[in-house]
């Protein structure tokens, strides 16, 4: 008897405050700034968007901070990159978020990778001896504008499902984004066209979709294996290979140390380019289209210098 009274008091004290009234706009939490930007393109002022990881942060290694739990607990829709990118930090946020709406499988949980083109899906047995390989393919898929369009469409469909009254608004926003993206794509394609087939080196395997889309040829990585920091022997081999093939450009994400890439660039007489792998990765990359504007401009300027074309 005494026990049950104590338990009830416990529960009553914890419940305390009554549930908040629902907000009018759809509250969206996206795990990355890229997804947040695409959601904003489609959702406009009918949604509010919060991004968890910053664009200049390694999206594999994010602290599941309690402040993120607060954001997740208030969300109507959680958009994730998926493909195991957030495996190390999102699950505890979703569990601690105490939010039935955004649990995996619920209506408010959206895996943005559902309809996109995924590269590097392993076809044979993988082990951790290969480094940080993702069993569901390369998760950096948003770096292909074609995939950006597909993500935007997936988000649009989900927003319509959550807020059917705004269907016309979301449709119109998506059509507008689609048009602007198509115009930008033809711009990027024509500036990149002269450099098709140019060989480059990247730090991590973050760029296969970007390189495939714009026809650049990645011949090696600064990391010996995904997620494994550079080693001397691998660096020496890479320098030899770059010299042999005449490779001058090394592309690095903003969250990696530049010491090794710069040493390699010095040896081969090349250049290190810090590109933005995500919206917010540099201050110029304020939205999804400007992200490619920035990256394409930086790459083209360097290639122009290197090739004289």
């Amino acid at each position: 008897m005494r026990l049950s009274i104590r338990l009830m008091l416990f529960a009553a004290a914890l419940v305390g405050v009554a549930a908040r009234p629902a907000a009018a706009a759809v509250s969206v939490v996206a795990t990355t700034e890229d997804l947040a930007s695409l959601a904003r393109e489609v959702g406009g002022d009918r949604i509010t968007v919060v991004a968890l990881a910053k664009g200049y942060q390694d999206p594999h290694f994010v602290d599941p901070k309690p402040s993120f739990i607060l954001a997740v607990s208030r969300a109507d829709l959680l958009i994730v990159v998926g493909r195991e990118l957030e495996l190390g930090w999102l699950p505890p946020l979703v569990t601690s978020g105490r939010n039935a709406k955004i649990q995996p499988g619920a209506n408010g949980y959206l895996d943005a990778s559902a309809n996109v083109r995924i590269l590097e899906i392993p076809t044979a047995q993988i082990t951790r001896a290969m480094g940080d390989v993702h069993s569901q393919g390369n998760p950096h898929y948003w770096l292909d504008p074609g995939n950006g369009r597909r993500i935007a469409q997936t988000i649009k469909d989900k927003l319509i499902q959550l807020s059917p009254a705004d269907r016309a608004y979301f449709d119109q926003r998506y059509a507008d984004f689609d048009k602007r993206l198509a115009a930008a794509e033809s711009r990027w394609d024509s500036t990149m066209a002269p450099y098709k087939g140019t060989k480059i080196v990247t730090y991590h395997r973050s760029w296969p979709n970007f390189m495939e889309r714009f026809g650049l040829n990645v011949i090696g990585y600064v990391e010996p294996k995904p997620g494994i920091p550079p080693t001397t022997s691998h660096t020496v081999d890479l320098i030899d290979e770059m010299k042999r093939q005449g490779v001058k450009l090394i592309i690095v994400e903003p969250y990696f140390d530049l010491k090794t890439p710069q040493a390699i660039a010095k040896q081969v007489g090349g250049e290190v380019l810090v590109l933005a792998p995500s919206v917010g990765g540099t201050k110029e990359a304020t939205d999804y289209i400007r992200l490619f504007d920035y990256d394409v401009n930086v790459v083209v300027a360097a290639l122009k210098k290197a090739t004289g074309k």
Partner: protein
């Protein structure tokens, strides 16, 4: 049928009649005709060739497309492993510790596989997830934790039921392999159960307290009373634990984490008496986002007060604390230091103190090698200087840890 055949017969007979008449007169015409037929035949042959080529080219392209097309997109797991999709995430973590140096107060062997932890974690259904941690140590195999978490309760509640580590302070909630040290602090060993800690069967309810200033989480727990600190012999006597945790981001790279914890219940050390524990903990973290994989600092301290209510005797009050700092100075290297001081729960006149420094190398996220020098001065006046070597290694898919 009948009229058709009639027509055919007529045409053939007409031809037969006509040809001999025409042969002599129109040899030139027939030559031209033959030429035309040959021409047509050649044209036809060329067309056939062209269409054949185009067809085989199309077939080749189709086959190439089939190869290049992305495989159907699995939503979880790899298609090749689809039979394992519903298996829980499974992992095994080994913790190997070697000790050198003299310590008459400790019976820790020179080399031992102190723990093998097997974890099984998965979502149960749309309403809950389950986590099991089995721990095999030289003492035997036991369920370290095994609980269900209801994630979809109303009013922002989170309910856990099963056997689990009580939410008392910080170090009590941590599994061995995520501690920044090769051992547990003196205060934990003297006042709240050491390695095993407050781990018991019970219920845990927590709720976020909404406010605009900081993250506040309130936890209330009730346990059966069967841990290293609390022991109950009656159903009506239970062990209660409460915790209030506040967290705030100072900047994007720095934050503070504060907590107050309280636990009370029947004492395990003195049957018939009660034990109360009060704890305060503070953590400061620094991790610059742009260099998050290279630099990190965590400073942490935890104070615990213990009170034993002896039925017919003097009340025993003891307290202790540790303060630690850990700094990551390269992608795979960490250094750390810890200061310790703690009274003994049953004799408030006795105090142990000590200190440690450590160097940790993490070749990958899945393993670590740690060297730790530990000095301990026991209340009896005994000094112990020890060198600890820890190897921790994990295989399989281990769920992410809470922050």
């Amino acid at each position: 049928m009948q009229p058709n055949r009639l027509v055919q017969v007529c045409v053939i007979s007409a031809c037969l009649v006509a040809v001999p008449v025409m042969t002599s007169a129109q040899t030139a015409d027939s030559r031209a005709l033959r030429q035309e037929i040959d021409q047509l035949r050649a044209d036809f042959e060329m067309l056939r060739q062209q269409y054949g080529d185009r067809l085989s080219a199309l077939e080749a392209r189709l086959a190439a497309l089939k190869d290049a097309a992305p495989a159907p997109l699995p939503v979880s797991g790899v298609s090749a492993n689809s039979s394992k999709v519903f298996n829980p995430d499974m992992s095994v973590i080994g913790n190997f510790v070697g000790v050198a140096g003299r310590n008459p107060m400790s019976d820790q062997p020179s080399l031992s596989l102190t723990e093998v932890e097997a974890a099984f974690q998965a979502v149960v259904d749309p309403y809950a997830r389950a986590d099991f941690f089995l721990s095999a140590s030289p003492e035997g195999l036991e369920v370290e934790e095994g609980y269900i978490t209801f994630t979809s309760l109303p009013a922002g509640l989170l309910l856990k039921a099963g056997k689990m580590r009580a939410q008392f302070g910080k170090v009590n909630t941590m599994h061995t392999h995520i501690l920044p040290w090769a051992d547990r602090p003196l205060v934990s060993q003297n006042l709240f159960g050491g390695e095993e800690g407050l781990t018991d069967a019970g219920l845990s309810v927590s709720r976020l307290i909404p406010n605009s200033f900081m993250f506040i989480d309130a936890v209330g727990e009730v346990y059966r009373g069967d841990s290293a600190v609390f022991h109950s012999e009656a159903r009506s006597k239970l062990n209660y634990v409460g915790r209030l945790r506040g967290y705030r981001d100072l900047t994007e790279g720095t934050n503070v984490d504060l907590g107050v914890s309280y636990a009370r219940g029947p004492s395990a050390a003195l049957p018939g008496s009660g034990t109360r524990l009060t704890g305060v903990d503070a953590t400061f973290r620094y991790r610059p986002l742009r260099r998050a994989i290279y630099r990190q600092f965590v400073g942490r301290t935890e104070f615990v007060w213990s009170r034993q209510d002896v039925p017919a005797g003097a009340q025993q009050n003891a307290s202790g604390f540790y303060a630690s700092a850990d700094y990551q100075f390269a992608r795979r290297w960490f250094i750390g230091a810890r200061g310790d001081r703690s009274g003994r729960a049953l004799d408030s006149a006795l105090h142990d103190s000590g200190g440690s420094i450590s160097l940790t190398f993490r070749p990958s996220e899945f393993g670590l090698i740690r060297g730790q020098y530990r000095h301990t001065r026991y209340a009896e006046g005994i000094d112990a200087n020890e060198l600890l070597l820890q190897l921790s290694f994990s295989i399989g898919a281990h769920g992410a840890h809470t922050f």
